[in-house]
Homo-oligomer: 372 residues x 4
């Protein structure tokens, strides 16, 4: 395949105050129809730009590969967040008007799995899958075509993206942490697939829906599978969806993006999206933790933080993880406090600034870690 075989469409997902349209570029590559379809988006949170570079590196390689499945790639998924500056940094994690996290506005109609399970209980698996996929897309469409006053700005963006995602069998949402090591949000049932990414740290998440793209993509299918199990029918979850956390925000690194593209291609190759491709996972120890064991560590006091825990590194309970400097107390107290955590853990990410209030999220830790 060469660059000419990639097509581009710019979808309109809203309108801003001066009337100009909000558009998102969508790139599509056609497969031969024998493999699963793939949807990959990046930059839903404004500061998390590295995924755009990964999509660039994916396109650079995909244009010379043969595909079994279709691949849809969406950089700049959030045209508001991407362009929302406040000082030098990008304030694009939440709608600046409402505070709502842009990645908590996707939809899951919880009535749908049981409806479809009931309506199509006599169908074979392939028909059932096609029917459910169609129902999911129709459900999104019914929202997009409801009364024109019924959708928030963020919901309209989310639904437009979700409509694309529901047409795929594999969904990857590319994010980053603030200052962060690489990690993968993986639904528990897809644990085996996690080993095909070159990502050392894996969070296993349950089937609860909290509004994120990965959940919005796999929860309906997981739920369908559970509905059918009640009928006594075994039906594998048909869709895999991951949030891939690429590293730190506010950064573009084309060489790291090339590595990340290879990691994703390794997974896609495993899923038989590619024809005769030579992408394979790296040998590495992969560490996992359950979402309930992913612990946020909030600043126990206000101050200026020197972060000490190596990201991706294993720390022992009681080891120093940070200094907090409190210069207004130089004479009255110990002005340099040392913090530690009371559990063995892997430090996955830390806050992006040294200045913290009491209660600011300083770190997130994997605890009760096990090898995958």
């Amino acid at each position: 395949m060469s660059k000419e075989l990639i097509s581009q469409e710019n979808i309109v997902v809203g309108e801003i105050a001066n009337g100009l349209p909000l558009t998102i570029p969508v790139y599509r590559l056609k497969g031969d129809g024998t493999g699963p379809n793939v949807y990959i988006q990046a930059n839903m949170h404004g500061a998390e730009v590295q995924g755009n570079a990964v999509i660039y590196q994916l396109l650079e390689q995909l244009k010379s590969l043969k595909l079994r499945g279709d691949i849809t790639l969406v950089p700049y998924a959030n045209p508001i967040g991407c362009n929302q500056k406040s000082g030098e940094f990008t304030l694009g994690r939440f709608d600046p008007i409402t505070g709502t996290n842009w990645n908590r506005m996707y939809r899951f109609n919880k009535a749908l799995p049981s409806q479809v399970a009931e309506q199509h209980k006599d169908c074979d698996d392939a028909t059932l899958k096609a029917a459910f996929k169609q129902a999911l897309v129709a459900d999104i469409d019914s929202q997009l075509t409801g009364p024109d006053y019924s959708l928030t700005t963020g919901k309209r963006i989310a639904l437009n993206l979700q409509k694309l995602a529901h047409q795929a069998d594999i969904v990857l949402d590319l994010h980053t942490g603030p200052i962060s090591s690489q990690h993968l949000y993986c639904p528990e049932y897809a644990k085996d697939s996690a080993s095909y990414f070159n990502i050392e740290h894996v969070l296993l998440i349950p089937s609860d829906f909290d509004g994120a793209m990965d959940e919005a993509s796999f929860c309906p299918w997981w739920s369908l599978s559970e509905e059918l199990a009640k009928q006594g029918r075994e039906f594998a979850v048909q869709v895999e969806a991951f949030t891939v956390e690429l590293g730190s925000q506010e950064k573009i690194d084309l060489s790291a993006a090339h590595e990340d593209a290879n990691s994703i291609l390794s997974y896609l190759n495993h899923k038989e999206v590619l024809v005769d491709a030579a992408y394979h996972p790296k040998a590495m120890t992969r560490y996992a933790c359950m979402l309930e064991d992913y612990v946020a560590y909030y600043a126990p006091m206000g101050g200026m933080v020197e972060y000490l825990a190596p990201l991706g590194g294993h720390i022992k309970a009681g080891e120093p993880i940070a200094h907090i400097l409190r210069m207004e107390r130089y004479l009255s107290e110990q002005p340099l406090q040392t913090l530690s955590f009371d559990k063995d853990a892997i430090a996955i990410l830390h806050f992006a600034s040294a200045s913290v209030n009491q209660g600011t999220e300083l770190y997130k830790f994997f605890t009760n870690v096990f090898e995958l």
Copy 2:
């Protein structure tokens, strides 16, 4: 009672980056112990300042009244939100770091009602009430004294306030809308009390908990009542809690605050908090709507809005509610669009700015209105 009988305490609810404490002033007036205790707070959302003026006007009157119950008054409930400027306006509706709405961080331990209902099933009502109140406060304390890294900035503020609120029988959280008429959030079971406020519009809310102060105050008691009903025991909900929406944000109006104080004193008088006081509700038609019928109207297009619907006024389906000016389309389209709503309604509030994106919340409407 004179001003000398009011006591003040400044509680510390956090620490900011330069190490200075975040404090909140708490004013207390003692009753003779024969009436219910009252907790009133204001300004949890930074721009919603009018409640501070209402507390001022309450204090000015309370200092010459005799009280049966204790009254605790907390202005400036959120020392971060109150001081968070972005341009001329106050950006204090959500934590500027995380986007979390400051009024969605209160706690409700859902296990508590059934535990207490079980443990104290042989107690009389008064003992049961005292035990549950104690359990609620202890539950908050257990959070405040947990590991020092376990609380977010907003949670620590919320828990400190909630600890005060749980000691009362009546809780009022003073808010405002953006540009808004007065309205009252009232739990369904306390509907009769709504008529003692001089507020024309009443939203009746169910027992669902979504993190707000009013819900955090009444949901546990509602839930306890339901648990005891399962035991076959009738136990009235012991606490009333309301969110009082005073009008528009970013404004202080001392004369309106005096009216609002009278409205609150009328309700407190009805609840027998005051001794021999002459506060009574005004005669007015009060309109109510169920929370599920409280409809948000989002801008169907981006543009510059002239708001036409009178706040607090009854509008008919299809009547103009706004013009949207779209000057970039002066030649290509009708540049002045007229919007309407498809239901009869009361317009309760509208957005604070003329500039809107497609999907910005333009109005909120009461629909399926009935007289209280």
Copy 3:
């Protein structure tokens, strides 16, 4: 003239992070060449939207008028500021990255007047005028076509607008205050023209250049006039430029906009831009003050403000202009402070929010007022 005779062009003034162009709509009406050319822009500051409605009302009337001069109308002059939200309000007074006021980035090459005065000292007035106009436009072009790394975001927007403005003989920049009465910034030499607007309050400004559009438009011509005076040649200032302050920000009012359009048409009619038109100024007392007598009143303490001075109204020295409520001092101090100003004055505008720090600009006052 009918709507068909209006032409539209969208000029590109920049590019945002996701690569999309920043465009500004430009509307043009052709005159018969016998009158002065006019440039009118609106909404350079994001929250100051009412000027767009005035341009709408101007277009609605101009399309049925005959024109002597060309008229260029630019709504939405700042595609970044217009769309910069922070909470419900529009944070568009300054570049969110740098803090630079969008209306302080225009250019005035101070060397140009003396250069042109020297080079064309033997020309007649009309030739000199044409040469200077050409030199001003060429100077802007030289900036726009300099090294591609040499312009800030705001400068590029400003220069593109200024290039249009320099082609006109009359320049109106439509602004609003925060909460404000109407007033006009008028260069001292054009004082007589101020009486043709229906604006009660006029600020007379000197020839100093501080980066604003009005100054950038008239300072070069004022300076040229002074250079020629040194040669002993009398040469009237050829361009008039005004900043028209329409009232309060964040509001669209189509009926007020119609009045404002009439006010501008009255001035344009006086300047012989229109053919046989019936627009004349209203009879009213117009009050003026020199820029040096335009006094900012900063909050002498932090607190919550009730604004008392009527905007546009005459206040006496010592009269109450505001209450400041300080609820954290209810017991320790007088919690309600009354502010006054020590001079007789006209209150022109006040701050947009009740919450103020010590030192926030509360009011701006005309002092040493005289009738125009």
Copy 4:
């Protein structure tokens, strides 16, 4: 000297909306009166926190040193900027209400040098110096004690700090760039002193006053020197003031702070502030450039930037300094653009985020570099 000999005072520099005071901690160490007095402040810009750590490391060493001159140390110099969050980052470069850069609000009364030069023309140098110092402090006091409505929030903070600074002979204002190498702003006349700091890059600045602390400290003395030169009297500039740019913002690094403290102590030792101390500058090549040769490089297009130029490193004209990724143009253009600069230069700092608009300041470069 031990820690007991350090004194602390918290000065009140303002009040916020909920009435709480804005305070700044001031640490003082007494010398024996035989050396120059020193003033060092940090963190005037909210995100530039590393200076606080340098003050910590200075105090840790100064407490065991003997001093000739007094030393005043002010961390957290800006209690508003320091605590102004917008998302994870600190938005403290400018007043969030007005956009004014916090480091452009200091005062220089340009009439003062000639007045004092005239009044004290018969005094000896020491008397003249004392008189001018006194006049500078009195001038600040006259501002601080003017009408209580006459000062902006930022001006009140600046004047309070400046009053402390004017009492010193040496003034250091500790800043950082966004992502930056170390560099020093040094007035041209104090060039020789620059070699006593361990800082490789030195910007030589002229005597123009633009509102910054360093300028506000040395410009009056430079100007006095020039006034006296007109009288034919040679009078060395009596005060040295520097802005020390420590590296990148949003970071605390205690080990780098220790190095920076040593660098400052080396300079202070050279100026004979310390008794028998062993701090000496490191041997290194120091590169200088004139302020007029310090070139900002603005993004020639919008996009996502990979920064390539090594900070502090020498780059050649035409070498790649950045990639700009423009993923919306993957098919229509070269999506990965390479940028270069047209001069040999040293890259001193770059923007803090990968996301840039056309016209965002990407880099600042030393050009026409020479060895000091």
